[in-house]
């Protein structure tokens, strides 16, 4: 589904990681941990073709991401829902319009009529549908970002520190939504530095925990 094979990436002359490999099989659940600055966000961006690897191969649904045109990248991204750390909303649109944006840009806005109300209820944002993103709390914004990520019914959901700006209760709520998606067959990849949060859901989901440190990706130990 998403496969990184011997991938290297660096900003300027600084290599962030090299020879890194990762394979996300359908229905799998992955946590990606590591210290700040280890390259978690960069790794995620490679996974949804927002960055191109300096070397190695990134395969998205069997296609070499390095050879995709901009329009082909757009099509691939419709199969990958992303919850960004900073949500990436359009502040001049309402929350409902932001959530429906992937359908709007795919000229499938008619589908939004059916999905939107259901999705807003799923993330408990029905009353906030008409509000603008800056009017929402951090937790509400993250839930709205999750709703936008799944509105296209993607095969993969990638979340970058989805619980970074919310309290414990809200982080548990967001994680339970992601686990629910995994049970529906979605492949989940979550980047987080919050190990306590991973521990809290280990019993609920068969998750693989990967640690990115010093340019290497390793399976996290039993100490987690």
């Amino acid at each position: 589904m998403i496969e990184l094979d011997n991938v290297s990436y660096g900003y300027g002359r600084t290599a962030l990681f090299s020879g890194l490999s990762l394979k996300l099989v359908p229905g799998s659940f992955h946590f990606l941990t590591g210290p700040s600055g280890a390259g978690k966000t960069t790794l995620l961006r490679l996974c949804y073709a927002d960055l191109r690897a300096n070397s190695g191969k990134v395969r998205l649904f069997g296609q070499d991401a390095g050879n995709l045109t901009r329009d082909e990248v757009a099509i691939v991204r419709r199969r990958i829902g992303v919850v960004h750390q900073d949500c990436q909303f359009l502040d001049h649109l309402s929350i409902a319009e932001n959530i429906a944006l992937p359908l709007t840009v795919a000229d499938r806005i008619a589908d939004a009529q059916n999905n939107l109300a259901e999705l807003l209820a799923w993330v408990s944002l029905g009353p906030q549908a008409g509000q603008r993103p800056p009017e929402l709390s951090g937790g509400e914004r993250q839930r709205a970002a999750l709703a936008r990520a799944v509105i296209m019914s993607p095969d993969v959901v990638i979340a970058d520190e989805p619980t970074g700006n919310v309290d414990w209760e809200m982080s548990q709520r967001l994680l339970s939504l992601l686990i629910e998606l995994n049970r529906m067959g979605k492949t989940i990849l979550i980047a987080t530095h919050d190990l306590a949060m991973i521990r809290s859901v280990k019993a609920d989901v068969n998750a693989r925990v990967l640690r990115l440190s010093r340019g290497q990706l390793v399976q996290a130990g039993a100490d987690l």
Binding site: R70, D71, F89, L90, H92, A100, L101, P102, T104, V105
Partner: protein, 297 residues
């Protein structure tokens, strides 16, 4: 037609994805209005020059004048001989001797209406109108030289050609100015589109992250700039029309009946200005958006 209508009506949700940028919106409307205003006058100049050239080409090419010197002895005999020559020349439809009143009218602009033409040594003029086939000018000159010595056949060629050339140059100048106006408008709209695309870089990034293709993103900008340019040009053309209507309806060249402005089917050109402006804006924004989106990966 259906596609054009869909383009004009647009999709409110898709359009809403990109907010309207105030400065570039106002700039586009203003530039389109100003350029359309200038274009109307350039068009009027070009069309008027064209009409003038056509008028001179048609009217003057159809007539010639035979001039019999005033001091010619036996004027009446010469006149009869000249008329006889003309009437027996193939291709001459009519040969009419100008009356004293007509000669007076010709001189009136210079000497006033009361010129005693009868007492002045004025040459006798004969207006010659050719038929559809026309006559052999060189042959007629040779016959006149033999039968009416001193008579001068003036086919107006000596002064018609330079005037025609001037009118045609004016027409060309008008079209060149129009092309220049179109190019300036395209350049200004390209700049405004680039500014709008740069101002919306973050929005474009978000749209791309949620799976928007370049065509979708470009469409929002292209549609907006096209409609603004069309609207601005309609306003500018309308204002120019009011100014044209307020101008005195004097002949550009006295007596030719040629007014500065639009006549008959010329008005279609005026209606075409907003449409052409919109097409220029459509193409300029499309190219700008395509280039910008390619750079902004």
């Amino acid at each position: 037609m259906k596609t054009i209508l869909a383009f004009i009506i647009g999709d409110p949700l898709a359009d809403g994805a990109v907010p309207s940028t105030g400065v570039s919106a106002r700039l586009t409307v203003f530039v389109a209005a100003a350029m359309a205003f200038l274009a109307v006058f350039a068009l009027a100049l070009s069309l008027t020059a064209g009409r003038l050239a056509d008028s001179w080409a048609d009217d003057l090419a159809q007539s010639a004048t035979l001039r019999l010197p005033a001091d010619l002895d036996q004027t009446n005999a010469a006149l009869r001989a000249a008329v006889n020559v003309l009437q027996t020349t193939t291709g001459v439809a009519s040969a009419r001797v100008l009356e004293a009143d007509e000669q007076r009218a010709l001189l009136a602009p210079w000497f006033g209406p009361d010129v005693p033409v009868e007492s002045l040594p004025l040459p006798q003029l004969i207006e010659i109108l050719p038929d559809d086939t026309g006559y052999d000018v060189a042959g007629l000159r040779a016959r006149l030289q033999a039968e009416v010595p001193g008579a001068v056949l003036d086919d107006h060629g000596a002064w018609r050609e330079p005037l025609l050339a001037v009118a045609q140059r004016l027409r060309l100048l008008g079209w060149s100015v129009l092309a220049l106006i179109g190019a300036v408008m395209a350049a200004m709209i390209t700049l405004a589109a680039h500014a709008a695309l740069a101002a919306n870089a973050q929005i474009i990034r978000v749209l791309r992250l949620v799976g928007a293709r370049d065509g979708y993103i470009a469409r929002a900008f292209v549609r907006r700039f096209t409609l603004r340019a069309g609207l601005g040009a309609a306003v500018g053309a309308g204002l120019a029309l009011l100014v044209l209507q307020a101008m005195p309806a004097a002949d550009v060249v006295s007596g030719t009946g040629t007014h500065f402005g639009f006549v008959g089917l010329d008005w279609i050109w005026l209606l075409a200005i907003p449409v052409l402006s919109a097409i220029v804006a459509f193409l300029a924004t499309r190219v700008a958006a395509s280039r910008r989106l390619k750079e902004q990966t």
